[in-house]
Structure formats: C-alpha cells, structure tokens
Amino acid sequence: MRRAAGLRAPHPGALVALALAGLAAAAFGALIGAAQDRPSVLALDAYLRRILVFSLGQAALSTVLSLVLGAALALALARRRFPGRSLALAALGAAAVMPAIVVVFSVVAVYGRSGWLAAGIEAAGLAPRPNPFGWPGILVAHVFLNATLAARVFLDALSRAPAEHWRLAAILGFGPRATFAHLDWPILKREAPGLAGLVFLLCFTSFAIVLTLGGGPGKATLEVAIFSALRVELDFARAAMLAGLQLAICLSLTLLLHWAVTQAPVAPTERLPIARPDCADPRLRLLDLVVLALGGALVLPLLAATLEGAAALPRVLDGDLARAATTSVTIALVSAALACAMAIALAGAAQAARERRRGRLAAAYDVLPALVLAIPPFALTAGLFLLLRGRVGATEAGFVLLPLVNAIGALPFAYRFLAPALATSAERHGRLAALLGLTGLRRLAIVDWPVLRRPLAGAFAFAAALSFGDFGIVALFGGAELRTLPYLLYERLGAYRLDEAAAIGLLLVAAAFALSAFATRMARC
C-alpha cells in the first residue's frame, strides 16, 4: 500500500485498510504456523479443478442473471409509483439478507418435489415433477439473494441522479430511449463493476446453498473444501492454501473488473422527487409490469414460504429465545457500527486519493471491501483464534471475533451504500471545506454528516440485518454464553424440531424485513 505523499498523517482509511490486510495475513500465518507438524502439499487434483470450473461457472451465471434482473427491477421501481411500493422495497432488502439455511428450506418448500409448484402442477393434471436440486436450485437461490441486493443498490444510485440532468432531459424532450441512454445507463454502468464483483464473490464462496441445493459433490465450491480441511481433516495448512487460492482467484477477477471499467463517479446532487418523462410510454409500462411480475414471482413465494414457521411461533417464545435475541441484537449492533465505521474510513480515504488524482490508490480502496469476502470466515476466525489462544478463553475470544468477523462480512455492503454518499458530499462541499481548512473528524461532522446521515442509517440497518442472520462461525464459538438466534435455529433442527427451527427462521426474516423497511424510509428512494 502506498502512503500518502508529504508529511500528512495517514488517513484513517489507510489504517483500516492496513488493519484488514494485517488481520488476514496474521490469520493465514497463524494457520500455517500451527500446521508445522503436518506438512501438506496442495495438489490441485482432478476434483478440485472440477469444482473450480463449476464454481466459476455458477458464480458468473448467477452474477449476470442477478445484475440484469436487479437493474430491470430498479428501473421499473424508479419509474413506477404504486400502492405497497415501500413494502416491495422492504421485501427486497429482507430477501437480500435472508440466512442461507432459510433460503434453502424456502426453495424446497416452493420448488421441491412436494412443494407448492409441484402441488400446482399436480392440480393442473400435468405430469412432470419439479426437481430444484442442481443448477435450478442454486441459481434460484443466488438470484433471489443477489438480484434483490442489486435492485436495492441500483435504485439507490438512480434516485441520487443529479436534478440538473433531469431538467436538461425535460428541456431537450428526451424520449424513453434517450432517457435510458443518457441518464439511466451511465448510472447503472457506474455501479455495475463494484456490484458485479460483490455478487460474484458472494456466489463463488457460497457454502450451504451450493452444497445442499447442488445435489451432489460435483457441485461444490472451494469453501466446502476449505471447511472440510479445517474442520474434518484438521489440516490447517491445506485450509490456508485453499483459502489463499480462493483469495487469489477473487483478487484477479475483481481487479480485472475494475480495470475494465474504472470511472470517476459522477457528481450526484440532492433533488426533489421528479416525474420521469419516460413514465408515460406504453411500451415501457408493459415492460415494467412484466419485470415487476417476474421479480414478484421470484421473491414473494420464497419470502412467503417462511410463514410456514408461524404455526410453531408460540412454542419458541421463551427465555431461551429472549436471551438469544439479546445476544444477536448486541452482536448485530456492534458489527454494524464497526462495518459502517470501516466503510466510512475507507470511502473517505478513496475520496481523498481521488481528490489528489491518485486514481489507482482510490480504486484499491474501492476493491478492498469486496475482496475481504474472499477470505473464508472459517479460516479467518480459526487463524485469529490461534493468535488469541492462551491470552483469552474461547468464549471471550468468540465475543471479540464474532462481531469482528461479522463486521468484515458486512463491510462490502455498507461500503456500497456509503461510498457514493461521501462522493456526493465531497463534490458539493469538498472545495469549500478545503478552503476553510476543515479536515478529519471536524469535516466529517460539519460537511459530510448531513449528506451521510440517511445512507448511513440504511447501511447500518442492512449490515445489522446481515449480521443478525449469520450462522457461520457461531458454529465453532457458540455455546451457552454465546447463543445467537441462528444458533438456536440449528439447535432445534438438531433435536428433530423442524417446526420450531422454521419459526425461528421466520423471526429472523421478520427482523430483516423491519430493518429493511427502516432503511428504505431513510433512503427515500
């Protein structure tokens, strides 16, 4: 990492970037160090090559589908106002953060052999039975999670388009085609690389969804191999090397994406709600109707399937649940705060680099948040725990590592919401602030805060919802003292209580929905 020139103190964002890189390096080092007694070579055998090809393929396809549908949904939602629109936006947010295990069971409830679709087909007197296992299940689940995310991010960006552009469009009498080409497309194009990188990484490292809905070991991800090396074979060196391989692949792809499309963000300005000139076009009206119907058909049944858990709700509402909810809320709040703080620092550093015409450095800051997703949380946690070992107990380590690892997981999402807002603020008030000599926290409080406030609330809610539903590393460190709601879900599932697990799943989705509704209100899109 190149340091800022001159005598200037390093930007807090640079420190965050260094800290993240340091954490990752330390975790890898600790894993490899702990494995000295078990020399292991990473043979890229036939199986690994095969799942690599599969992973790349499914992640690429999932990404393209998610971005296309997400963009179409965002445009339709930007053009149309209809009753229940804000609920639809909240549903998008809730879908985007739904825990993997809940998504798996929802996909099966809707598209499974005995699911709703099968019942419908049977009622219609048709023969073929749906089979979601394999490509269909993986794609449906990934597009469900990521098209909704893409739609939210795109819509956010579209609603920040400069008012001057729209005035100009109205004066020039833009038709729907010109509106898309000159107004919407540049915005979508600007958001797409970062978003594509994020979605690709999410799909490339997807674990439970690919393993369970994939239908066989031929459809797996590197994450599965890392998990089994780490937990089953206890072969830390192999885990570290596989994790390194995953990181290298993701790094090259992310850099490629950014190198292919690197543009300075346009300068969005606050605007009053504007009636888009293309709203009245009948063909677009039809298109939007189709897109919204398609989006609804994908998202609503899978969300509705979680309602099956309602029957067992009375049985899960007890002291255990209250304690688990308290722990979950606390961890979610801490990790969301941490994620947002890191995102602001990194985005600030990127902005500062851009102002000094250091484009590549700025791009590095932009890439970093998504890249941390390539570090398998299991490997990161295991490595960090090895570093803490002997200094603190496992449970105490869990209390530190859980919010930290969750915050790192939520960072790229928070960054996607916050970085554009900081860019806006810099564009609007940057020169004045520089003239007045406002820097650091004072600048943040006086100049950036008014612009940042709303996206920050949105990012915070999103990060909290994401962390709220995370199971990941709780599997290792959960326990009587550290029992989150997802942990409780698995505990009930392990005791034959499928219905109670579904009820806890419903609570997780309901919490995500509430947080998302709040974020939507704050974003005003």
Binding site: Y47, I101, F105, V108, G112, R113, S114, G115, F133, A208, L211, T212, G215, G216, P217, G218, V224, F227, R231, V232, E233, L234, D320, R323, T326, T327, V329, T330, L333, V334, A382, R389, G390, V392, G393, A394, T395, E396, F399, V400, P403, A475, L476, F477, G478, G479, A480, E481, Y487, L488, Y490, E491, R492, L493, G494, A495, Y496, R497, L498, A501
Partner: protein
C-alpha cells in the same frame, strides 16, 4: 439455563455495552458458593438445548458432587473437535462429551485426552469396549428412515438400496462435513469392499442431495423431498413418543448396520481430574443413562433399571453391527472420501 453465566471482565470490556452485560451478569455469589469446584464439559448444542438431556444431567450430577457443572457447546461433533484442535492445551474443557468413534483417532491424536482409568463393567452394546481413553455413553445403528404411507416396500438390504436402479430416492449427508454421512461411507465399505465405488456410482442418480449435516437431511426428508433419509434406527421412537406419529420406520438391512457410538473422555489438562473421572463414572450410572433414550434419542450404553421406554419397543433389531477400529478409520478416511468423490462425480 440452569448453569449461571459468568461473563469475564475481558468479555464485558470487549463488548462495552451495558445491554448485554446486564443480560448476562449474575448476582454476586456468596463466598461459600465460589469455593465449589466447577467441572466444564464440552458437548454439542442439541445435547443441552431445550430438548436435550443436558440440564437434567447437570442437576443430578451437581446434587451428588458438590460442584457446579458448566456446559460449553459447539454446533456438532465436528465443530467440537475443530474447537479442541484450535484451543489445544489451553482448553478449559475438563470432559469432552459427544465425539463419535469415527473421530476418536483424530481426537486422540490431539494429545489432549488422558486415560480414563475406569473399568466400565458390563455394557449393553453390540460390541465389546476396550478403549482406554474414551468411554461410550450412547449408541445407535445408522439406518434409513422412511415414511410407510409413501414407501410401501423398502429395500431389504444395503445392496438392494444401492444397486437397484428403480429403488427409492434418498437424501444423504456429505461425508466430508457430517458424522452419519461418513458413517455410511464406512458402512458401504464394510458391505461392498472393493465394489464400493461402483455401488456409489449406481446409487448417485437416486440421491436427491448430500447435505451439510444430519439436520438438513432429516428436514428435507420430512418435507417430502426423498423416500428415505440416512438417520438412526432410533429416529422412529422420537415420532412415536413426541408426535404420537407411527408412520415413520427404519428399514432393517440384511447385511447388518454400522454403529454410531458417542463417546466422552477427560482431558489431560484438567485441573480437577478426580471430578472429571467422577463424571465419567456417573455417565454410566442410571441417573445419566435413564435420560438418554428420550433425551438424545439413542440407546443408552448401559440399560437403566427401568429398561427402555415404551417408544423404543418395536424398533428394528439389526443382525450384525459394524464398527471399524478407530485407527483404521483415521488411516482410510482420505482414501474413502476420494473414492466417494470419484464415484459420485463420474
């Protein structure tokens, strides 16, 4: 939760949030109570969850030992082992309860466990017990469970299940991530020997999916995604006892069934070795064993005085019981998984 939770200062500091501190803090204990020794037992989560036997076991043991029993949990047996590997000699565990025989060699290799030094006496298990490090506390047969209202004639042998192309669909667990999933691999190796890979290749088209763990597979089966699921011969007892539901049965296979034996051991690093040994002894007493059948849905390692509960009547009684030596399992693990990977991805 029976066991009081005591957050350490480090933990409160780390969180710095009064909410959680308040939620977890316990009122100060009197000095006398603080002198009670604490026995820390690691186990998997469902053992001490709302429906597991853990809480009752703690009450009974505490009544006799004049100590506090603290449960510390990880998600499942695999996580338990992973956590021990990470903690190494700094582990707080005095006793680890909930590993299975297939993990025994790897657990032993951690060099964390001490010989139990207990003569277990007669056990009610299909195999003789000789292990000097671990003692069993419950066991069950791996078995394929089916819904009698949907599958009228289940296969009568593992061979029929694997090789009949018209056979029922199954949902299985991935042997890389799941204990019963790996157990089936051993079972198939015991039955098919050299022909194991080919047998898997013929079964694969009828495998709906391989899940991460037992829970997901059993859930998918209950949702109606497959005709049969790999579980335990005792699973139908749960449905009979709790749900009053008799439609689920386990299929008895002619070749015999692989055993799933759950074990416990005391750590070498414990500061209360006597107490740990007392717990292992207690583990084979009626007070512990009587809680196992309908708490953990497995067979007790030693039948309690009252025998088995009613819900266990009518469960299948397999002929031969397979259980490979744990060193052999450990030595063959990689090769078996590689063979399975090759066969299922042909």
């Amino acid at each position: 939760m029976h066991t009081p939770l005591r957050p350490s200062p480090a933990m409160r500091l780390a969180l710095g949030l009064p909410v959680l501190a308040a939620a977890l803090a316990t009122p100060p204990t009197p000095a006398a109570a603080q002198e009670r020794p604490t026995l820390t037992v690691y186990t998997y989560s469902s053992f001490v969850g709302r429906y597991g036997p853990g809480e009752a076991i703690a009450e009974r043991f505490e009544a006799a030992c004049g100590c506090d029993l603290e449960w510390v949990t990880a998600d499942d047996a695999g996580s338990l082992l992973g956590r021990l590997r990470l903690e190494g000699a700094s582990t707080r565990a005095d006793v680890v309860l909930g590993l299975d025989m297939n993990l025994a060699a790897q657990a032993r290799a951690l060099d964390l466990f001490a010989p139990h030094g207990i003569a277990p006496g007669p056990l009610d298990m299909p195999v003789a017990w000789q292990d000097e490090t671990f003692l069993p506390y419950d066991w069950g047969h791996l078995a394929f469970v089916y819904d009698t209202t949907r599958l009228e004639t289940p296969p009568e042998s593992l061979e029929a299940l694997f090789t009949d192309p018209e056979g029922p669909s199954v949902v299985l667990q991935d042997p890389r991530t799941s204990a019963p999933g790996f157990g089936l691999l051993l079972w198939s190796s015991a039955v098919f020997g050299e022909g194991m890979a080919d047998a898997w290749a013929t079964l694969t088209p009828r495998v709906v999916t391989f899940t991460t763990g037992w829970s997901e597979a059993y859930g998918l089966f209950l949702e109606g995604e497959a005709d049969m699921v790999l579980s335990y011969s005792t699973s139908p007892a749960y449905h009979r006892s709790v749900e009053d539901e008799t439609r689920y049965e386990a299929a008895r296979f002619a070749e015999g069934h692989y055993l799933h034996v759950e074990i416990a051991g005391a750590t070498r690093t414990t500061d209360t070795p006597e107490l740990a040994r007392d717990f292992l002894r207690f583990m084979l007493d009626d007070g512990f064993q009587s809680l196992i059948p309908e708490g953990n849905w497995m067979y007790p390692a030693r039948l309690p005085e009252g025998g088995l509960p009613e819900s266990f009547a009518g469960l299948i009684e397999p002929g031969e019981a397979f259980l490979f030596d744990s060193d052999r399992v450990s030595a063959e693990r990689r090769a078996l998984i590689d063979a399975w990977l090759e066969a299922t991805t042909r």
